[in-house]
């Protein structure tokens, strides 16, 4: 027993110097943690780490990127931001949510805000602002929908892909020509690959270009009322048109998977998607020959609008927020903007880059220009936009599945949206 005690003591004494010795004098690395849920854009995300290494040489701060899966990202963000423990220093999100409904955002330093205000395309200046103050850095230009057409399928249907349709009437006629039914009347090739699955917020997002083309808007201009807007005569006509695509004309099918898959599998000849989709098709369906054109117009043109204005935000309670803003300042220039977006194949944000060789060589260069020439459509950057879009999307998807007629469905949705707005 005594021997064992002495042995233990000897072991402790031999280990003690190793434990108590000061750490070797390597330079201390500090980390800024960046959270993103843009899992489809790994190269874009990696750029923060790459530039973080350059930033570290100057300041000692590196950047660590954490990619949170898109499904359920809100839960993880909210838990971390509320709990403050394990929260990121910088995170990607929508300004009107995280700064509007919650107070999780640090206000951008004035001179940096000025830099961004001066270098954004006009339609994007409002993105990243809440109540007039800038909090977020917009990261995605071209996040409005455009029309992707499968050139081969269009040609096969006797349509000229170089002369894309300009009006909704012509568009519908083209979709009919592109649709192929089997002997049982089931769609085997859809003219239009339509979003009918997933969360109603996404359904709303994909329907809004149609609504705007009919001259309708989801909410009043001050974003305080839905009745009279979400259920206006124009909106009812738009939803009737959308429902007819499935129920009457059968140019879109509810049996098809996601629109992206249908387009990639050549089962859908046309899809409405944002500029990032160009990179997706190149990667996932390289044998699909496609063109990108502006969306067709109805009574009005859909314009360059979006429901998800993504930005980079700095967490208000981060102990490293000064360093976080320093890093943001470090990469706030035209070159970094171009390098980062080009690495992923998406459109850069800075106005100075919109006429760059990279952008001009893209297949969506002309269509982007055409979309930007259209009047800016309504924006719905309300703190409760998810809940409002859900109520609205439920009506849209119910119409698609034939659960009711557009008018009563939209009346019900508008009433529900008003309750949400007043609550």
């Amino acid at each position: 027993m005594r021997r064992l005690t002495w042995c233990s003591l000897a072991l402790v004494l031999s280990v003690a110097p190793l434990v108590l010795a000061p750490a070797p004098s390597t330079p201390q690395t500090k980390k800024l943690v960046y959270w993103t849920h843009w899992e489809q854009n790994p190269e874009f995300n990696k750029f923060y780490e790459t530039r973080g290494k350059d930033f570290a040489q100057k300041t000692g701060w590196e950047v660590q990127v954490v990619t949170v899966p898109y499904q359920g990202y809100e839960a993880k963000y909210l838990a971390a931001l509320v709990g403050k423990s394990g929260a990121p220093d910088i995170y990607m999100g929508m300004t009107h949510h995280w700064c509007g409904q919650y107070d999780f955002c640090d206000r951008m330093p004035a001179e940096l805000a000025k830099t961004w205000d001066e270098n954004l395309p006009k339609y994007m200046v409002g993105v990243g602002k809440w109540k007039g103050a800038r909090y977020g850095i917009p990261i995605e230009h071209g996040n409005f929908q455009q029309m992707y057409i499968n050139v081969d399928l269009w040609k096969k249907a006797g349509l000229d892909p170089d002369k894309p349709v300009k009006t909704l009437d012509d568009w519908l006629a083209a979709m009919k020509k592109l649709t192929v039914l089997d002997a049982k009347g089931e769609t085997t090739q859809a003219g239009f690959a339509l979003r009918h699955k997933g969360h109603p917020v996404g359904i709303t997002d994909k329907f809004l270009p149609f609504a705007h083309a009919f001259g309708a808007r989801m909410l009043s201009p001050n974003l305080e009322q839905a009745t009279g807007f979400a259920n206006s005569a124009d909106m009812v006509a738009a939803l009737q048109f959308y429902q007819d695509l499935v129920q009457k004309h059968k140019v879109a099918s509810l049996a098809f998977p996601t629109p992206e898959d249908a387009f990639g599998q050549k089962r859908g000849a046309t899809i409405f998607r944002e500029s990032w989709f160009f990179g997706w098709v190149k990667k996932n369906a390289p044998d699909v020959t496609f063109k990108v054109v502006a969306l067709p117009c109805g009574k009005a043109c859909p314009g360059a609008g979006n429901l998800f204005p993504w930005t980079n935000l700095v967490y208000k309670n981060s102990p490293n927020k000064q360093a976080a803003w320093e890093f943001m300042r470090f990469i706030s220039n035209a070159k970094d903007d171009l390098d980062q977006h080009q690495a992923q194949g998406i459109l850069p944000v800075w106005t100075a880059n919109l006429e760059s060789g990279y952008v001009k060589a893209r297949p969506d260069y002309q269509s982007t220009q055409d979309m930007l020439k259209q009047p800016v459509p309504p924006e719905y950057y309300h703190p409760k936009s998810n809940e409002l879009a859900t109520a609205f999307g439920e009506a849209v998807v119910a119409a698609l599945y034939g659960k009711g007629q557009p008018k009563p469905l939209l009346d019900e949705a508008a009433a529900k949206m008003d309750r949400v707005l007043k609550d």
Binding site: A75, G100, Y102, D103, V201, N386, E387, K403
Partner: protein, 289 residues
């Protein structure tokens, strides 16, 4: 004696602490949270029973409850009856090796992650590329829309739940069957009872505690079902598969209405507690021979 009591207390302390931290604290937090409304800026304001009135008068909430009950009605009896049938079948297998092999096969789905299982079934249910429609096509039957049909989505999801849970319930029944002394069957046989009567008058009464327990577990599992629905349909199409927990999740984390979500959590807790107590009281019987 006091020392023994103290020792006993220390032995149960870890379990008590775990239960308290992981279950009781969140429960109490939920109950408190259901009386507060989060206002822009992240602060909370006491609103009394207002959120209860709001949530309990919302048709979307009751639609989610109806969907959940409908899923539950399809899943629970099917799982329990099938598990019992499978356990009886396995119990009759004389070869221990084969019995173990079959039991392991039935149990395998239970060990699979629910999300992974859901994604596999999503592929099987795919109307165009799915395995099930391929099979139907092979035998000349019309293909189905499965998860993309308003009518078929809940039965399709119920089938996934049955597949996932069957093995677990079977194991419980099998263990209980193996614990029934063979003398009871011998006595029943001497009294002239055939297999059906032995099942009715010996096996089922002696399995009563397990049947009640399994039914309660299934009820709780199916009431709280989330992963499979979230991974496959996200409540669609057109809200036809939106369950209470799906709605609760959206309310809390998509709409940031923590108070409303807490009301739903309290509703789920109270409902399950009442149903469990009722079931316990009505069906639990002491059986002695």
């Amino acid at each position: 004696m006091a020392r023994q009591r103290r020792a006993g207390f220390f032995f149960v302390l870890p379990a008590l602490a775990y239960f308290g931290l992981v279950f009781l604290v969140p429960l109490v937090e939920s109950v408190i949270g259901s009386f507060y409304r989060t206002v822009p800026g992240g602060e909370s304001r006491f609103v009394g029973l207002r959120l209860y009135a709001k949530v309990l008068s919302d048709p979307t909430f009751w639609q989610a409850v109806a969907n959940t009950v409908s899923l539950l009605v399809m899943s629970v009896p099917t799982t329990v009856v099938l598990a019992l049938a499978v356990a009886l079948g396995l119990h009759r297998l004389a070869s221990l090796r084969w019995r173990s092999a079959w039991t392991a096969m039935y149990f395998l789905p239970f060990s699979v992650s629910l999300v992974a299982a859901a994604l596999i079934w999503q592929w099987m249910y795919d109307p165009i590329y799915g395995f099930l429609n391929h099979l139907l096509g092979q035998v000349g039957l019309p293909t189905q829309k499965w998860l993309q049909s308003l009518e078929q989505v809940r039965p399709s999801l119920a089938l996934v739940n049955v597949w996932v849970r069957l093995g677990f319930d079977t194991i419980i029944f099998l263990a209980a069957l193996q614990a029934i002394p063979t003398e009871y069957y011998e006595a029943a046989s001497i009294d002239g009872a055939g297999p059906a009567r032995a099942l009715r008058h010996v096996t089922l009464p002696l399995l009563n505690p397990q049947i009640v327990m399994v039914t309660m577990l299934e009820l709780i599992f199916n009431f709280k079902v989330f992963d499979t629905v979230y991974a496959t349909t996200q409540g669609g199409p057109a809200g036809a598969s939106q369950t209470v927990i799906m709605l609760l999740y959206d309310t809390a984390f998509k709409y940031f209405r923590l108070g409303d979500a807490s009301v739903m959590a309290v509703f789920v807790f109270v409902s399950l507690l009442l149903v469990t107590l009722l079931q316990w009281r009505l069906f639990r019987r002491q059986v002695e021979y």
